[in-house]
Symmetry: C3
Subunit: 315 residues, 3 copies
């Protein structure tokens, strides 16, 4: 693969998961493969798990890391073509991407959705611009519309806890005080396509995800019905997609509780973190032994390591 922008860039999803699982057992099995090479990690947004796990994954492969918080350490970037650059944006991505790609052997980028401009977000302007003007692989560390590292880690976590029967996997919308992007919900949904699962998405009216992405899922407005006999419950907030970026309700009716979890088949609980306790989910669900959230985060390292290894194999 040239770039890793979304799951469909992977040459083979199952091989990627298998490689990630092997790295989890032996993180240093390819510790010299990246020697003499450097990954640039560019952050346009905060990051805890992604930053540390991707850095660790790179170091496990012998890569050097150069990390830049673009928003306060470098120059504000212009992405539009043909403009008179008179404002605060003092460098065009055309130069920035071409330049950085000379210093790095691969470039990983985190750039969240604006949630104000749907077209711009869906065009993935940051990642697309960098991949257009860079001659090195571009790696998605969460973009406007997808978070494929998270999805690979989630796939690993499901496999590690897979049921003997065809699993019922439920993605449920949950409340949140801030407007959040659709990236995690999108990538989780796309990832489930690789599983033989009964996949149900549930959300309140107005919070439906992009129908092009959810076309293979059962979508319902009845959260309790959705949770019945679930084996895995993934909770996640996102802002409205149809009324793009809007928060349509602020009540706690959709918060995931122990009572709701009792409807499931003793389901495992999943979330990508960070998570707001007693808003998205109650303490007793999150602190329950069925919660996989810490292991999901752990698997982030090996998900990234598997992808970086594949890119190094190509290069």
């Amino acid at each position: 693969m040239k770039n890793f922008i979304s799951l469909k860039d992977l040459p083979n999803f199952d091989e990627c998961i298998k490689q990630a699982m092997e790295f989890k057992k032996n993180p240093f099995s390819y510790k010299h493969i990246g020697e003499g090479k450097t990954i640039g990690m560019l952050f346009f947004n905060p990051s805890l798990r992604t930053r540390l796990s991707t850095q660790l994954a790179a170091q496990n492969l012998g890569l050097k890391t150069m990390i830049m918080n673009f928003t306060n350490e470098a120059w504000a970037l212009e992405f539009d073509d043909g403009v008179e650059m008179r404002g605060i944006r003092s460098e065009h991505v055309k130069e920035a991407a071409a330049v950085v790609s000379q210093y790095c052997d691969m470039i990983a980028i985190r750039a969240f959705a604006s949630l104000t401009n749907k077209d711009q977000d869906e065009s993935e302007i940051v990642l697309k611009s960098f991949s257009k003007y860079s001659n090195k692989p571009i790696i998605n560390m969460e973009s406007a519309t997808s978070h494929p590292f998270q999805a690979i880690a989630d796939a690993m976590t499901i496999k590690e806890n897979i049921t003997p029967h065809k699993p019922k996997i439920v993605l449920t919308w949950a409340p949140h005080p801030k407007a959040l992007p659709h990236a995690v919900g999108n990538s989780f949904t796309r990832m489930i396509d690789y599983f033989d699962a009964n996949y149900v998405i549930t959300q309140p009216k107005g919070y439906e995800l992009d129908k092009r992405i959810t076309k293979n899922a059962t979508v319902t407005y009845d959260q309790e019905k959705a949770l019945e006999d679930a084996d895995f419950v993934y909770a996640k907030n996102w802002a409205s997609y149809s009324q793009y970026g809007k928060i349509l309700r602020t009540d706690k009716k959709w918060m995931l509780t122990k009572d709701k979890m009792s409807l499931t088949n003793n389901a495992k609980f999943m979330h990508c973190l960070p998570i707001r306790r007693n808003i998205v989910v109650t303490d007793d669900v999150l602190d329950n032994e069925n919660s996989l959230v810490i292991e999901q985060a752990n698997n982030r390292t090996f998900a990234a390591q598997s992808v970086l290894k594949t890119l190094l194999d190509n290069g």
Copy 2:
């Protein structure tokens, strides 16, 4: 030792100092001991000496470093249990600590006192929360109430300049325009317990340190009397402890001057830095050949290296 939160966590103080002194002579004597391991360094506050010296110490031992300015690079942390996380704190330390401890083999943390909430500061909520939810060693890079790396470096510096007679060591309060924590004064005082010294603390009324910590020291309000025949004078500001976090006086009467130093036994001058010139101390004292402040800072590297080595030996 499991964690390094305070001096009393050290299995053997004298061995720690001895090891630090050896690292000062040969920084690379254990340059492979940390190979394949990573230290996470988390900063909730500014840092110059601590950041660079701890990073250097880690690198001297072959450790990889991952550094994060928590306040602007990651998510604001919630430390209280059972709360509805509706505000700006978007991640609970319970998840953050558990997650980071999966990526790192040890976690070093800098988290100053708030100076607004004595109980919370004394509970060391940041370090204690991380050590509770992490399964890897937690290392104190200055907490609300203590700064043990500084104390070890100070002990090295005193040993390097020790008098043939039982030394008189004086810790004197000094003025400062801002309210500062008690961490350095506390740890210096605890450290002196390991020395055979005549230890005197002097400060104005209302600036007494925690009496549980100063119980073995002579405490006086007479700065000039305290300085008489001193062999070492450590100047440091701290806010009031009894009127917690308050600044009670703004005059310069307690500034350390050449005249005051002339009362001593040609004493060495010590301070942890950063220091405000001509507020805490006059230029002529700080620039005098008897000033040890630069060497104290130098010893920070080897103090940290000795502690990290001990933690690596355990792991």
Copy 3:
């Protein structure tokens, strides 16, 4: 050389360029020379190219890097002597420089001109203070009045594109919405002294560079005349030097356009980046195959690597 503050510190300019060219062909030819040594990189201003290229150069030589954004990660520095440090500047450079130089084997610093205080800028207070109080080499990553890494990279780029005849090299002022320093214009001009070239500087009235620096150049107010038969055109904005730091005009008359470039001898276009499109230069000049800006940025790595290698040879 003890420090690398300006081009004249180089023991031999031609050897420096030659070494840089060799590193471009084989970046890892001295990959062990910096082992066990550490470069501290201190930033008082934003940086993209300088930060990444200097870090990469250091890593190519086996140096460890410690990077600090001084303005938000450490303490605000005081540079004046004898002051009562009562304000926001909590540490004097005297201590900071002495301390950092104990942790690092060399210290690279970026500290832009204030453009408000000509005397202070020309005294290069940041770099001079650090070199006064540090006992390790100080390296200029763009100071108030010069940017020698950029000049070396520019020299490499000119050599790579040198004409068979004595080249005409033109430095032209260009518009910009913000007041910018003179560092790049100064260092480019000083660098041209090492070339056998016809060197012309053109700028509007009031924008003349320091005459001490431009004494060997032909200086003209006629941009079109200057561009005639040029082989290299370097565009750059700077604020007024005589009316120090002021912006004297805001029109676009001096923007470099395709029409103006048609006056040249099919000249190569150069700029240090970041560049504001359609303000400094039109898209069609910047995107033309004659533009060398991306290669200039590429050469920054090898310029820095050559200088670091020379400093390591000395140490």
